[in-house]
């Protein structure tokens, strides 16, 4: 299929790059000095875009690629793709659901444990030699705490399954109430936050969910509460989050995502009750390879006129 032109938006995975190179004519957007420069030369040759959580396919890009047939994103999140425009133009869209669910849920629980039990601060305490001068202060128990999950999709459900094994009670807020009777439904995010000690953000980012975790929700979670965000930075009002943590109005936070990655508000760095990760939710060797294989397989299916494996549109 070397007559098929595939454009990768960022160097998201060396393995994926290799796989695409072997099968298609691969264009690497990041190797051009500018998007305009790239488009001037190659616009007509691009039949597929492979994007990720940093650079997807926005309206402008889609408009400038007249031969674009499919956008295959190396992510499950679709917030960087102009889905309306794709529908208009009849462009197919695929993502990588399911294969990354476990990794993200694992990291969410890891963030909750490292934040409540102060694991990173303890590790630093040992490495600095401070243990010789006295014990570390007491931390907070995780097992049995009330857990709230914003978004009970694949990832939210996987988080719930894990938290239950720690004896946690589960509450959730979702666009629709689910059949599960074990978990307590709340019709809005503020109620959910008021009724849990640990709030996990696991919903997709859309116009409706932008800043769904706002000051009101943060205040409802309160000084004894911990926020864990494995969704998207923009789901949380980051400015309010920073103030709440600095002022002690929120107990702690475990964050894998930020509003303006890779920029992280430096005020966070002074806090011992936060754990900050560089968007590594799916970044394991195992999962990144599986995601890459799914991207490639979807593209092959499309260009061989077979049914897509994980279509969104």
């Amino acid at each position: 299929m070397e007559n098929v032109g595939v454009m990768m938006t960022t160097p998201m995975s060396a393995y994926l790059e290799q796989q695409l190179q072997q099968r298609f004519t691969l264009f690497k957007l990041w190797e051009s000095s500018s998007r305009t420069q790239f488009l001037t030369r190659r616009a007509d040759s691009v039949n597929a875009v492979v994007g990720d959580t940093k650079i997807g396919a926005d309206s402008e890009l889609i408009d400038s690629l007249p031969r674009l047939e499919i956008v295959s994103t190396y992510s499950v999140g679709l917030d960087k793709i102009d889905l309306d425009k794709c529908r208009e133009r009849g462009i197919r869209v695929t993502n990588t659901p399911d294969v990354l669910t476990d990794d993200v849920a694992d990291l969410a629980i890891g963030l909750a444990l490292t934040t409540l039990r102060r694991i990173c601060a303890c590790d630093a305490f040992v490495r600095s030699g401070s243990w010789r001068n006295g014990d570390f202060q007491l931390a907070t128990k995780f097992s049995g705490k009330s857990v709230g999950i914003l978004g009970l999709g694949r990832i939210g459900s996987a988080i719930a399954k894990r938290a239950k094994a720690f004896g946690c009670t589960i509450g959730y807020h979702s666009r629709t109430k689910k059949q599960i009777t074990d978990y307590m439904y709340h019709s809005n995010a503020v109620d959910l936050a008021a009724n849990c000690r640990i709030l996990f953000v696991a919903c997709s980012l859309t116009d409706e969910t932008r800043h769904i975790v706002n000051r009101e929700v943060i205040d409802a979670l309160g000084p004894g509460g911990v926020l864990v965000n494995v969704g998207r930075g923009a789901l949380v009002d980051e400015h309010e989050l920073v103030s709440a943590l600095c002022e002690g109005r929120l107990g702690g936070a475990g964050l894998d995502v930020f509003e303006n990655e890779p920029h992280v508000p430096e005020l966070f760095f002074e806090l011992v009750n936060v754990v900050l990760l560089p968007h590594v939710g799916t970044d394991t060797v195992e999962t990144s390879n599986t995601m890459a294989d799914l991207v490639v397989a979807n593209l092959e299916c499309h260009f061989l006129k077979k049914p897509l494996l994980t279509p969104v549109i």
């Binding site: 849920a105 694991i119 040992v126």
Partner: protein, 313 residues
């Protein structure tokens, strides 16, 4: 009971200390400049000892206190207490089982996630500003990894229950095969290590289990294997552990305990595949309060001639 002399061996918890002071005649062993003389002077008054995982009632202390009736340990581990001597002399012994099981199991899972997903390294990466220059490298998936547990007691079982929620197959080694579990039994620790990706030490420390994790076991666990120690430092041959990690013969380690706390081998400080904690297994506000109340409850029961709450001897 204010006339009853209670000897606290080391500072372990201010609430416990305060309450012992209120209810009994409290002697603080660690404030005595001349401990032998102190024991000789107070020999007739001391009827109870409160110890912990660092300081316990050894043969020497027991022999110096002829009026000693009960040893109440602020721990579940009994390795610091001369149990034979207590049995001989009819001295009662209590510990704090069950109330700390969840915290220790939570920490074991926290250590597994922190090591495999490099959570502390990632947090340092963000705080140093390195994320602005590039993404963190890929790490290792936790879900689905084979977990091998040495000792399937209260804590071992609690670790297994949690790991199961991450779809981890569970293996174990125990003095005898357990009847009611679906977990896979191995008759030796080496076999257990050969068949596991993560090996967790969760058994009691006795002369038989000292260095139960030796060079052979670590080699069987191998360059991709991870050791988690939430038991006692002497369970593991620490010198061999350091060589194995430094030489890459062992994939990683999450350690809450060490042979000579608070001393930790400095060669470990430069490694990014280890997480080092200052013996915080039960170190939460919630659990230490319950442990303290249990110590107090046992002492009061004994001196009121009522049945002990959690007797060992």
């Amino acid at each position: 009971m204010e006339a009853i002399g209670v000897l606290m061996l080391c500072p372990m918890n201010s609430y416990l200390e305060q309450e012992l002071d209120k209810r009994f005649k409290l002697f603080r062993y660690w404030t005595q400049p001349k401990q032998r003389e102190f024991l000789a002077q107070q020999a007739e008054s001391i009827r109870a000892i409160v110890g912990n995982s660092n300081s316990g009632a050894d043969a020497d202390i027991i022999d110096s206190l002829p009026k000693l009736e009960i040893v109440s340990s602020f721990s579940v581990g009994l390795d610091r207490i001369d149990l034979l001597k207590c049995k001989e002399k009819g001295i009662r012994v209590t510990n704090t089982p069950d109330v700390l099981t969840e915290d220790v199991a939570d920490l074991a899972i926290g250590l597994m996630l922190a090591v495999l997903r490099r959570i502390c390294e990632c947090d340092k990466y963000v705080r140093s500003g390195a994320w602005k220059l590039g993404d963190f490298k890929l790490t290792t998936k936790f879900s689905g990894k084979r977990v091998g547990i040495i000792g399937l007691g209260r804590i071992g079982l609690a670790v297994a229950e949690r790991a199961e929620a991450f779809d981890c197959p569970i293996n174990y080694y125990s003095r005898s095969k357990k009847a009611n579990t679906n977990y896979t039994y191995y008759g030796s620790v080496v076999e257990l290590a050969s068949n596991s990706d993560i090996l967790v030490v969760a058994c009691a420390l006795t002369p038989e289990t000292t260095h139960i994790v030796n060079r052979e076991v670590m080699d069987a666990l191998g360059p991709k294997g991870v050791l988690i120690n939430i038991g006692r430092g002497p369970h593991v041959d620490e010198a061999e552990l350091v060589s194995a990690l430094v030489e890459g013969r062992l994939g990683g380690a999450g350690l809450d305990v060490f042979e000579k706390e608070p001393e930790v081998p400095e060669q470990l400080f430069g490694l990014e595949n280890v997480v080092l904690l200052p013996h915080v297994g039960s170190g939460t506000v919630e659990t230490r309060k319950v442990m303290a109340d249990l110590v107090l409850g046992n002492l009061e029961a004994h001196f009121s001639s009522k049945p002990l709450l959690t007797p060992v001897v």
